[in-house]
Symmetry: C2
Subunit: 106 residues, 2 copies
DNA sequence: CCGATTGTACGACATCTGTCGAAGTTCGAC
DNA sequence: GTCGAACTTCGACAGATGTCGTACAATCGG
């Protein structure tokens, strides 16, 4: 590995984020479940421990969609991938959006 | 016409609205333009006057998607269809969501 | 009544998207 | 070194979705 090795997977900067992409990422039932699970665990969660009604590969697909939209951040930790909500960036760009989504009646 | 004639087109009640459907509706560039245009005109806007890069039929399609998700309300007024944002319902169900979306950097 | 204006309905079509299974990769433990 | 655990990658595939053009419907003004 190089000395500049990054444990954090590629994700858009705050400037690169687009609201329609964020909304599209949030507009899927499985991805919304992931976001709700991450909201309850500010320190991050291993992808695998979130209960989801899909297979591993589909899970990977949704996590990448969320990451590329800028909704979550992922870092490698051993063989685990830890995910966290990018709360600060989302709140800065779209104040109230995330809270509104999380406040939705279940 | 019957005495119970309704000028307001069918739309979900507040209880019937689902957050993932709302987010999905908002997650399209054209529909987002519509919402931004409606946000600037609380009294309602005729569908046709919103500048959009699509044809009439596509416009109708997007307006129906927004209406069926509960984002907008439509009523007939002569040969016009007036659309309005369902601000009160959205704010009640998902406080902050709409404001966050509208605050997005253009 | 006629025509113009507005918008909807329908069918077609290319693309996107969510889903899966199988195979590959990376890391930690023994 | 070998095994298992945790994810990713790839290819495939069915269904959803955005788009258009044409045809149809309703309303208002002369």
């Amino acid at each position: 590995m190089s000395t500049a090795d990054q444990a954090i997977l590629q994700q858009p900067t705050r400037e690169e984020m687009r609201v329609e992409q964020v909304l599209h990422a949030l507009g899927d039932p499985v991805r919304l479940m992931i976001v709700q699970a991450l909201a309850a665990a500010p320190e991050g969660v291993a992808c695998g421990v979130i209960p989801l009604p899909v297979t591993k590969s589909t899970r990977t697909h949704h996590l990448r969609t969320l990451r590329e939209a800028g909704v979550i951040s992922m870092r490698t930790e051993g063989t685990r991938r830890m995910s966290t909500l990018r709360r600060d960036d989302l709140d800065a760009l779209y104040p109230g959006l995330l809270d509104g989504v999380l406040a939705a009646p279940r």
